[in-house]
């Protein structure tokens, strides 16, 4: 029992170390891939932190992602980099608290579309502010950060996020989230302070997402609302987490990695029929893996062991 736990931690640590050395054996393209994967693994895991157990499907991902990226764009010239990240996290936190407080009464699809509207509202406000107050729209980020630096930061963030997800899953607050996801009336009658729990988790998840945006931004040199507030990011995050299984620790990761590689493979090989093939594959996945990738792998695993 205990030996097994030690082994699991050991393996996790070894994998992490191996991943950290990836830049030395992967070319620039490989690093680019790893950045994308680490980014989406973090996004999906952070998203599932809140949305998985509570079933509050959020489309506000890109709002925080964009806030992170924009903060870097605005502050990168005037503050040292670590402080910029800190500032991004702080702004993300404040926005998350405001958003969290305002969405407490919403449920189901109303919450989903509310968060979408919110992301769009933030994008519109940023645009309006830039246009009317600063008089520019695009901003340039000339930070001296190579792809390796971005990769290492994302890898670290991904590891921390998974660790947090693991810890929350075993902790009281994890149970509170599940209870809230099942029935809020019961949750309240059990003594759970629903608002506080929801807010805390939403904020945590949002801060991580903000950091992903902040860390990735220097890769694009040029940042504008249409680029960093692209709703596709929200949708992909959601789809990856759902596909992997948003209720399990490894679910989002197992959704993000294969899906990302699939996207990559398709766009590398079928630039002209990408959409059609992707769409068909997607539909096929929904039909073949009704309970998500993780449930499927678990089933295979069990079957394998039963033999």
């Amino acid at each position: 029992m205990n030996a097994k736990a030690i082994a699991a931690w050991g393996i996790a640590a070894a994998v992490l170390v191996a991943l950290a050395f990836a830049p030395s054996y992967l070319g620039p393209y490989g690093i680019g891939l790893m950045i994308g994967i680490a980014g989406y693994v973090t996004l999906a895991t952070a998203w599932a932190l809140f949305s998985g157990p509570t079933r509050y499907v959020s489309l506000a991902t890109v709002a925080f992602f964009g806030i992170g990226a924009y903060t870097v764009a605005v502050l990168s010239e005037s503050l040292p980099y670590p402080l910029v990240l800190l500032a991004a996290a702080a702004i993300g936190l404040v926005v998350a608290l405001v958003v969290g407080l305002s969405t407490l009464r919403l449920a189901g699809v109303y919450f989903v579309i509310f968060t979408f509207g919110l992301a769009e509202l933030i994008r519109q406000l940023v645009t309006w502010y830039e246009v009317n107050v600063t008089g520019t729209l695009g901003r340039y980020i000339f930070l001296d950060l190579g792809p390796e630096d971005i990769y290492w930061q994302l890898l670290a963030l991904a590891a921390v996020t998974l660790l947090l997800a693991w810890w929350i899953g075993r902790s009281r607050i994890g149970l509170a989230l599940k209870v809230i996801g099942d029935d809020e009336v019961v949750a309240a009658h059990c003594g759970i302070d629903i608002a506080r729990v929801k807010l805390a988790l939403f904020a945590l998840s949002a801060v991580i997402i903000t950091l992903v945006g902040a860390i990735q931004a220097p890769r694009w040199t040029y940042v504008e609302p249409a680029i960093v507030f692209n709703p596709t990011i929200s949708f992909l995050t959601l789809i990856m987490a759902l596909l992997g299984g948003a209720n399990r620790l490894w679910g989002p990761l197992l959704g993000a990695v294969p899906l990302f590689l699939l996207f990559e493979w398709l766009s590398a090989n079928f630039p002209n029929h990408y959409s059609i093939i992707l769409g068909l594959l997607f539909i096929a996945i929904v039909f073949v893996l009704p309970k998500g990738v993780l449930a499927f792998t678990e089933k295979l695993w069990k079957r394998g062991r039963a033999r």
């Binding site: 305002s102 919403l106 699809v109 919110l118 769009e120 509202l121 059609i276 769409g279």
Partner: protein, 290 residues
């Protein structure tokens, strides 16, 4: 000025309401969150465009072709793709998840096909772009058509859904499919019909919009999201809600553009949407029960 603003706002809102009608049926009644909805609209728009510029067929006749085609497409999509998902869903949440994932795939397929056939270019033509003077204000006939269609379809649907047994049965399917079967309602058939009807309405919207709005194969998502906002703001499954929400958004947009700052129109529409949801968490006409 104010009359002009009101008229312009109502007419713009008519477009929003028109595109939302079908979605509120598909999501509100057939319980399918159809992310490919906007792409169905765009498909119809391309169809109208192809008929008009390729075969010289008047878009009004195009409407008569596209609506049944949309119905058939919706019917087929439900029967082939959605029915198995509905049948295996153990509760509403899992059906929602599955339908989001599946229609997300469908969205890519439709978009991909449109890209292959029509390319990525901006497509636009103009039809019925003639002024109609109402209360001294010139309004484009094509936009007026959208408004009139929205009001007529919305009104008819509302009456059908609330005043007839058939419509009540459709709503019953939305409220509780398992109980609906217990009173003799063929849930699958009703849902399929509602979804197909939603497809027909999407097609109508697409044809009318193509007369005055530029579109590309990628524009579907924009329409889906706009329609979703209207549907949610009105209350899921509520046709009158969709109609009023659409008109409100149109009015807000026009008034902000006229009296405040055109740069804030979208911000204002999202803001009003958010405020309405905060005030009524289940939309304007939604019932508070989950």
């Amino acid at each position: 000025m104010i009359v002009t603003a009101i008229l312009a706002g109502l007419v713009l809102g008519g477009t929003y309401a028109l595109i939302a009608m079908g979605l509120t049926l598909q999501y509100g009644i057939a319980r399918i969150m159809n992310l490919a909805y906007g792409d169905m609209i765009i498909t119809a728009a391309f169809l109208a465009f192809a008929l008009y510029s390729g075969a010289g067929i008047n878009p009004l006749i195009g409407l008569a072709i596209a609506a049944p085609a949309g119905f058939i497409l919706g019917y087929a999509v439900y029967a082939l793709m959605m029915h198995p998902l509905v049948a295996r869903a153990k509760d509403r949440v899992s059906l929602e998840t599955d339908s989001i994932l599946a229609t997300f795939g469908l969205l890519f397929v439709i978009q991909g096909v449109l890209f292959v056939i029509f390319g990525g270019n901006y497509t636009s033509y103009s039809y019925l772009n003639v002024p109609v003077t109402i209360l001294g204000t010139n309004i484009a006939a094509n936009r007026l058509l959208a408004f009139v269609l929205a009001v007529v379809i919305g009104g008819l649907l509302y009456l059908a859904l609330t005043r007839t047994r058939w419509g009540t049965a459709l709503r019953a399917v939305a409220v509780s499919p398992s109980s609906a079967a217990l009173v003799g309602i063929d849930v699958d058939r009703q849902a399929r019909f509602a979804f197909a009807l939603g497809g027909a309405l999407a097609a109508c919207g697409g044809v009318v919009i193509s007369m005055y709005q530029t579109f590309t194969a990628a524009s579907g998502v924009v329409f889906t999201m706009k329609a979703l906002i209207v549907v949610i703001m009105g209350g899921v499954g509520n046709v009158l809600g969709a109609l009023s929400a659409g008109l409100i958004l149109g009015l807000v947009e026009t008034f902000v553009a006229t009296y405040l700052d055109p740069g804030l129109t979208l911000a204002a529409t999202y803001l009003i949407f958010l405020v309405i949801l905060l005030w009524r968490p289940s939309g304007l006409f939604g019932r508070s029960a989950r």
